[in-house]
């Protein structure tokens, strides 16, 4: 196949699968802007956006701290079982979100091993805490996976130099280690946030899907679709907001890559 042939095949495939459908969605949203806008600004939708924002923030913070510590352990730690650590961290990536949801319900449900909370008024399942847990679980790997190769590449020489210049362990960490991995961390955070915003399967299971209370943005999209009776503008409208966020994420990824963040 000549060069043009391959190009046509590649671009053709991308158009069929990616570009044309996306363009179509934007078109449909534009067709009924009023309907879309009404859906976006409805109180339940606003509540959904707020919940997604809250959950995403928590997931990002938790997994950034966890991710940095974990990466340090994997690359530099002297713990036995580092290899296992590395493998376990990747596990959420290969698990179906439904299974994640099932696992959480099994564990924290009223009859589960950790059901104590549920039974004593500290509701986890079918309430916000389980959404947070599910989101943390599925976004676990991202910061770690970005920081590990960067840490490996940098090596420990800069910290050693810092020590010879008088820095304590903590000082070396703050002034040398963290700054040297900052772009990898930022990139990981961007990926984490995107995944957190986009989580559907696990959250659909554990949240109870109560509009206005435990409905995240993605669940809201589905809700808008199910109750749209053929007029999909509301669903497209809310989906459009999420798609726009995803594009922002893509732009962030593009901008961050040259700064030494790994893909």
């Amino acid at each position: 196949m000549g060069r043009y042939g391959l190009r046509v095949v590649a671009l053709g495939y991308l158009t069929l699968i990616l570009i044309a459908p996306l363009a179509m969605m934007v078109w449909r949203t534009a067709e009924d802007l009023d309907g879309a806008w009404a859906a976006i600004t409805a109180p339940d939708t606003i509540a959904a956006f707020e919940l997604t924002l809250k959950v995403t923030t928590i997931a990002v913070v938790v997994n950034t701290v966890f991710g940095i510590i974990c990466a340090l352990l994997i690359v530099r730690g002297n713990v036995p079982g580092r290899g296992f650590l590395n493998a376990f961290v990747d596990l959420p990536l290969s698990l179906s979100p439904v299974i994640v949801g099932l696992a959480l319900i099994t564990l924290y449900g009223a009859n589960g091993w950790l059901g104590w909370f549920q039974r004593h008024g500290h509701e986890i399942v079918f309430a916000t805490p389980s959404i947070v847990l599910a989101t943390i679980f599925v976004t676990l790997p991202f910061v770690v996976r970005e920081v590990v190769p960067t840490l490996r590449e940098i090596g420990t020489e800069q910290e050693q130099a810092a020590h010879t210049l008088g820095a304590s362990g903590w000082q070396a960490f703050w002034r040398i280690t963290l700054p040297s991995i900052r772009w990898a961390v930022v990139y990981g955070v961007v990926l984490t946030a995107a995944r957190a915003i986009g989580e559907y399967g696990a959250v659909a299971l554990v949240s109870g899907n109560i509009a206005g209370e435990t409905q995240t943005a993605t669940l809201r999209v589905e809700d808008a679709y199910q109750f749209s009776y053929g007029n999909y503008a509301p669903a497209y409208g809310i989906a459009f907001v999420l798609a726009a966020t995803a594009i922002l994420v893509l732009v962030a990824m593009l901008v961050l890559q040259p700064k030494g963040a790994r893909h």
Partner: protein, 258 residues
């Protein structure tokens, strides 16, 4: 830290496995061999396999074009490849529905020839949704390998008389195969468990378009132990396939290990 991870990651899985034994071995087997469950599992495995194979082929072509070709707008195209990563899966489903759903503009009738791109409630819908979702995997694992690949190797082959295709088959393909296999493994794990992208477009008709993930979803309410059983089987299949691909990959790279 290992304990923290153990608790966060391993415990939930262990709970599921435990739950699946709730009705004993016979209960487990009963659920798992029930016609509906079997149909769902079969559907998931087949569509995932087909989608991943398609993605492998086209993903490699796309990676090749992105690395070796140059045209206006190439960097834009390169950037969109990551869109399925960044997009919420439910939105992905809607996006596909926009063009291939009930109100598709691609609905033509010319004489007795009728073409309707509406694929809702069909298995094709699942296939297309999975294509969308797995697109980045192979492209992004093959690209770096292609970039690193020394053009001189191909030049050497050509100077020794090999045609373009032979050069590809004997020089380039072996080099990128591990990358393709990695991408395939990740894509498969993703595809077999996908729910958000297919839940709207597939219609979830039992025995027809109900994938394993959907089947699980609805089973959990009435029959948690049964759901857990199906989940365990799904996990086992994923694990088996991943191991298999890993073994192939190991075999393919055996000469590089010296």
């Amino acid at each position: 830290m290992t304990t923290f991870l153990l608790v966060v990651v391993v415990l939930p899985i262990a709970a599921v496995v435990w739950k699946s034994t709730g009705n004993g071995w016979s209960g487990f087997w009963e659920v798992v061999s029930s016609p509906q469950a079997v149909a769902a599992l079969k559907l998931s495995v087949i569509t995932a396999t087909l989608a991943v194979l398609t993605t492998a082929v086209f993903g490699t072509i796309i990676a090749w074009v992105l690395v070796r070709d140059s045209f206006a707008g190439k960097s834009l195209v390169n950037a969109i490849i990551d869109l399925p990563f960044a997009l919420p899966t439910i939105v992905a489903g809607l996006v596909i529905m926009a063009l291939y759903g009930p109100r598709t503009p691609l609905d033509v009738t010319i004489g007795s020839f009728h073409f309707d791109a509406d694929i809702t409630f069909t298995r094709t819908a699942i296939y297309v949704a999975l294509l969308f979702v797995t697109l980045p995997f192979v492209v992004r694992t093959v690209q770096p390998v292609l970039i690193e690949l020394d053009r001189e190797l191909e030049d050497a082959a050509r100077s020794l008389g090999a045609s373009g295709f032979t050069t590809f088959r004997r020089i380039v393909l072996p080099a990128i195969l591990p990358g393709v296999l990695s991408g395939v493994a990740m894509a498969f794990a993703r595809a077999i468990g996908e729910i958000g992208a297919i839940v709207l477009i597939a219609g979830n008709l039992p025995f027809k378009t109900e994938a394993a993930s959907i089947h699980l979803f609805y089973r959990i309410e009435q029959d948690p132990e049964g759901a857990a059983a199906v989940a365990v089987v799904l996990l086992a299949i994923s694990f088996g396939v991943l191991l298999g691909i890993g073994a192939v990959r190991w075999h393919v790279t055996r000469h590089e290990r010296g």
